[in-house]
């Protein structure tokens, strides 16, 4: 699961991008990362626990001549490998007086 924050100017040029990923790392008994179900004996848990709300905060500065910004915050869910779906998306336009 990935939270993605993107800011673009009026022309669509990317000004800012950041993301946070929730996932688990399977490791064998030597603590080497593994993918095989038969190899994984423990996990390192970087997931979102049940019944928990996590907060992610981003402080973003734009250049001094920036007048308009489109901010998009997306939550992606990847079922396997590269196949992801956008679960939620919030878009907001910001205007600045220079």
């Amino acid at each position: 699961m990935v939270l993605e924050v993107t800011a673009k100017d009026a022309e669509g040029k990317e000004l800012y991008k950041s993301d946070k990923t929730w996932f688990e790392i399977g490791v064998d008994l030597d603590r080497d990362m593994r993918y095989g179900a038969w190899q994984i004996k423990e996990i390192i848990d970087l997931t979102l626990p049940p019944l928990e709300t996590q907060r992610e905060t981003y402080l973003i500065h734009f250049d001094t001549d920036t007048e308009e910004v489109e901010l998009e915050v997306k939550l992606w869910y990847y079922i396997s490998g590269g196949k992801g779906d956008v679960v939620y998306s919030v878009v907001r336009k910001l205007e600045f007086d220079n």
């Binding site: 019944l51 981003y58 901010l71 915050v73 939550l75 869910y77 779906d85």
Partner: protein, 301 residues
């Protein structure tokens, strides 16, 4: 007269039982045809058409073909290269006890052949041989009788004993007339039933196989924090389709999302690298709140 009718009914039930799933049978299938016939799900569709169609569209119905890569790797890499262990029924069942429980009733030879088909179907997927192997494997899955017979009594085996041959286990235990003997069981409504496979799998020889960790986080992070729902409460909302991470609607239902955005102008001269250090700096604070409303960690393999 009444005695004769009762005898007739018992005879019908006995014959029906023989025709249905053979979970407690000593006989082992020598071919996939025989194995499929022993646990023939298509008979269920005759009376339970809607449920059958839900199941047909579920991931349970393609539990082997959708997981070929992982199972192939276990056989071709894990067994062959890492463990240097011969492919046999006990090893194949480390995957198929869950992905196709009927294989418990395959002969040693057939189970080993099925393991070979898994490797062929994946390694030669574009060839006629690979396609043929996949087609055969598509007949194996988590079928109706996998849950309603083979695995029905497993979580409380000491109390319930093995599943009885030909009996259909269900939470309702409704009288099915001549169709099949039915036995009411509460087991299938409990999370422990799903956790047989949807969590760390413990093989009879002690090996642990970790396809996912759902049962762990359900027990140790959900129930322990006061959660009270069962797996079935959420994952049977669409009946026997059992939607989960593959279903966007279910994923959306399980996650809360709220975003707060606060634009402001940062003090001049405080941010390095801007074009004009004497000007106010356009800025924003973005805060996202992500809530896990499910009964397990997200994501979970």
């Amino acid at each position: 007269m009444r005695y004769a009718a009762t005898r007739m009914l018992l005879l019908v039930l006995a014959v029906t039982a023989l025709a249905w799933g053979q979970s407690a049978t000593a006989r082992e299938a020598e071919t996939i045809d025989e194995l499929v016939a022993m646990f023939d799900d298509s008979k269920c569709a005759e009376c339970h058409a809607e449920i059958y169609q839900e199941w047909k569209s579920s991931w349970h119905a393609q539990a082997v073909t959708s997981s070929l890569k992982g199972m192939r790797n276990f056989i071709a890499v894990g067994l062959a290269k890492e463990w240097k262990t011969k492919l046999n029924k006990a090893e194949v069942l480390k995957c198929l006890d869950c992905h196709a429980p009927a294989v418990n009733f395959a002969s040693e030879k057939l189970a080993t052949e099925i393991g070979g088909l898994i490797v062929t179907a994946f390694d030669k997927k574009d060839s006629a041989e690979g396609k043929k192997a996949r087609k055969e494997l598509a007949r194996l899955n988590v079928g109706c009788l996998s849950c309603h017979n083979i695995k029905a009594t497993t979580v409380a085996r000491g109390l319930n004993g093995p599943a009885k041959q030909g009996v259909i286990y269900g939470p309702g235990g409704a009288d099915a007339g001549d169709a099949h003997p039915t036995m009411e069981t509460v087991d299938m409504t409990r999370s422990a039933f799903c956790m047989q496979c949807h969590g760390r799998y413990n093989a009879p020889d002690g090996e642990t196989i970790q396809c996912n960790t759902l049962s762990g986080s359900y027990q140790n992070a959900y129930i322990s924090r006061g959660g009270s729902k069962s797996c079935q409460d959420c994952h049977m909302k669409k009946g026997h389709l059992f939607p989960g991470g593959h279903d966007l609607e279910t994923v959306r239902e399980g996650l809360g999302f709220n975003v707060e955005i606060t634009p402001y102008q940062h003090l001049p001269g405080k941010i390095k690298g801007v074009k004009d250090p004497k000007k106010w700096v356009p800025s924003a604070v973005v805060t996202a709140f992500i809530e896990n409303k499910t009964g397990h960690r997200v994501p979970d393999g």
